[in-house]
């Protein structure tokens, strides 16, 4: 015979303060747990979404990032003429030869802070017109596109909101030139939102570079990647690494992602110990104050197993309330964009907390697990009581 669910729920309701405090503690743990998972999901989503499945990135062998890479004009031409590369309507290959440099810019300070200006590295990318075509997710939301052959630049949405001196009409001074901001672009929550774009030939001249940083090519079909990679690897003139764009950007998330995950999981485990102790205390107290009641239930014919289950469910319910409150609080974080330096690329990257169904399930399971562990020993104690002793308790 099962003990009615309403009995279980009412027991929690009757001790509001204790229930509230215990569930509150659990909610905080679930909040931290969910926040970490959301941060990691946001980081991965941003970097993975940056790459298109049929774009490939070519960089110098072993250079890992575009900034450290160098691809000569000859090498770029070899890639350009590969048969796997898609051709546009005009018959020209869809290849973007780009230059990528880092520029340290002052961040916008929180109002009222009197600290010295904080600077961070922003990716400045020089690209030809086709470069924008290769990234269909990018669209100008304010102002206009830069003109080829001019010292004009456009800034990503996250750069516009996070850095000082990059409003339309303002000038950035670097590499011995004044660059005028003429537009802001939205790259649909990808890493490009954290970049500044300008004309590739102008940038090459200004930075006095003779080699490109990377070559981005669109392949005619995603499955041609294998053939292109084979050709590139076999060619002794091409000392380059070739990767799918999605993979290239995904790889850049690995070290920050594992840092966040490791730190977050360690914290969640430690914090959950505190919350589980809270649940244990509460449940022991629940058992102690209801000793006579437990005796009555047993006398009425409820089995030991039913008592065990009832107290476990009570603890799980308590944890569930905490879990739901924690997730609800964490869901407000989705409005927040985090901007930090990704040490793998040594440049600023903005990403948002992202709540996925998987995270909701994980967080709920985590909270129920805390409830189960916390309630287990008290439930055993309740189920082991002898009827006579329990009834005699005052």
């Amino acid at each position: 015979m099962k003990i009615p669910a309403s009995y279980i729920a009412r027991n929690l309701w009757v001790r509001k303060l204790t229930t509230g405090l215990t569930a509150g503690g659990m909610a905080l743990v679930v909040f931290v747990f969910a926040a970490v998972l959301m941060l990691d999901a946001g980081l991965k989503a941003t970097l993975v979404a940056t790459g298109s499945p049929d774009n490939v990135v070519v960089i110098r062998q072993g250079s890992q990032t575009e900034v450290q890479s160098g691809v000569s004009r000859d090498q770029a031409a070899l890639i350009e003429t590969s048969p796997e590369v898609a051709l546009g309507a005009d018959g020209r290959p869809w290849v973007s030869k780009e230059v990528v440099v880092l520029n340290s810019l002052p961040k916008i300070q929180a109002s009222g802070s009197n600290q010295s200006t904080k600077r961070s590295n922003v990716v400045v990318r020089g690209l030809p017109e086709i470069g924008k075509t290769l990234r269909p997710q990018v669209r100008i939301i304010e102002g206009r596109m830069f003109r080829a052959g001019s010292s004009e630049i456009i800034v990503g949405k996250s750069v516009a909101s996070g850095f000082a001196g990059v409003e339309i009409g303002q000038h950035l001074s670097f590499a011995g030139r004044e660059w005028t901001v003429v537009g802001v672009f939205d790259a649909g929550k990808t890493a490009f939102d954290s970049e500044i774009w300008g004309d590739v030939e102008q940038m090459m001249q200004a930075f006095r570079r003779v080699v490109y940083s990377s070559v981005i090519a669109k392949i005619a079909a995603p499955e041609l990647f294998g053939a292109l990679k084979l050709r590139v690897d076999a060619d002794p003139r091409l000392k380059v690494d070739i990767k799918r764009e999605a993979e290239f950007y995904g790889d850049q998330s690995s070290s920050l992602s594992s840092f966040i995950t490791l730190l977050g999981m360690a914290l969640s485990v430690i914090f959950s110990l505190g919350a589980m102790i809270g649940a244990t205390i509460t449940m022991y107290a629940a058992v102690a104050t209801r000793t006579a009641e437990i005796g009555t239930l047993r006398a009425l014919g409820f089995q030991r197993a039913s008592i065990l289950v009832a107290f476990l469910i009570e603890s799980l319910l308590l944890a569930f309330v905490g879990g739901v409150v924690g997730i609800a609080a964490a869901s407000f974080l989705t409005a927040i964009t985090v901007s930090t330096t990704n040490f793998q690329s040594f440049s600023e990257l903005a990403f948002a907390f992202t709540l996925t169904p998987r995270i909701v399930i994980f967080a709920l399971v985590f909270s129920l697990l805390m409830g189960f562990v916390g309630g287990f020993l008290p439930a055993i104690k309740a189920s082991k009581m002898k009827i006579v002793d329990a009834l005699r308790a005052d």
């Binding site: 204790t18 250079s63 904080k118 600077r119 961070s120 505190g274 809270g278």
Partner: protein, 385 residues
Amino acid sequence: MFFLNFVLRNVFRARLRTALTIVGLVIAVLAFGLLQTVVRAWYAGADAASATRLITRSAISLTFSMPVYYRDKIRAVPGVTAVSVSNWFGGVYKDPKNFFPQFAIDAPTFFPMYPEFVFEADSYREFLRDRRGAAVGRQLADLYGFKIGDTIPLKSAIYPGTWEFNVRAIYDAKDDTTITRQMYFHYDYLNEQIKRVAPRRADQAGVFVVGINEGQAAPDISRVIDAEFKNSLAETLTETEKAFTLGFVAMVETIVVAIEGVSYVVILIIMAVAANTMAMTARERMSEYATLKALGFKPAAVAAMIIAEAFLLAILGAGLGMLLTPIVVKAFHAATVSVFAKMPLVAHTFYLQAVCALAVGLVAGIVPAIRAARVKIVDGLRHVA
């Protein structure tokens, strides 16, 4: 005396509950101390910085280099006592996980500016003599078991190919703040090799370390140096070594702030747990408090008893936690030594732990105390827990 005795006995009446609460407090205080120390660890580089060293780098960003002849121009600026070159090498030892910094430096000008690195005179001479020689810090040597005479192969993402260096000297730290988890080798060797494979990239300096005679002159000297290269191909940005190091922390400030914020969350969690314990304790004993009042104890005295009990719990938990903190920090540092060069446990952390524990005690005790003080004797005596 009676008061103390009474409180002590009450604390240990529900032994299991008290023990669990104290364990919770210990965990929270430990976690808090550890997180605060991790936050401090980010600033370890800035602690090691000297006020009489400036860093000159390209104004665009650290990834841009400057012509090495800038050295002579900087040396001519009044107030400057020494200038040295330092290039980030970005080498990977076997696996990218084995991260440690390597710098190509000009030893005769560099090390005199860093008196905190203590060399043995013999091995230092050996290091100077070997073109491919490397000087390795004690911490780094311990971490990977480098010994004098070893060869360290490094694959660089910045400079093509695999490079081999011979360990010729191992230097020690002069004091606690000194970081010895990095490797130095000869700039001339790097430059020669680069000249052969990529002549355009030769004769370039990543940063200049500038020694000055007094720290107060730093802002003025910085301005003069930067003005010197204004409107040149490679404009410079000069700042104190401390500001330069803090610049790195600022880049990941969001993460540091998040860790610090989270460290207070654990205090909130334990606050809820302790408050719960006290609330249950007080509820169970409402009739006793009424009895005390009936015997003539003032409401304030009853309230004080509950607050004292909460504080006692907090002090026991915090005390144990603080005792264990150094052990846990040490173990944690041993596990993360490749990430954090230093994990300095400072007095401030202990203060914060103590303050947080007392706050937990106060918050946990206050509501039950007020309730007990206010309860009418008649109601209290009738109260059923």
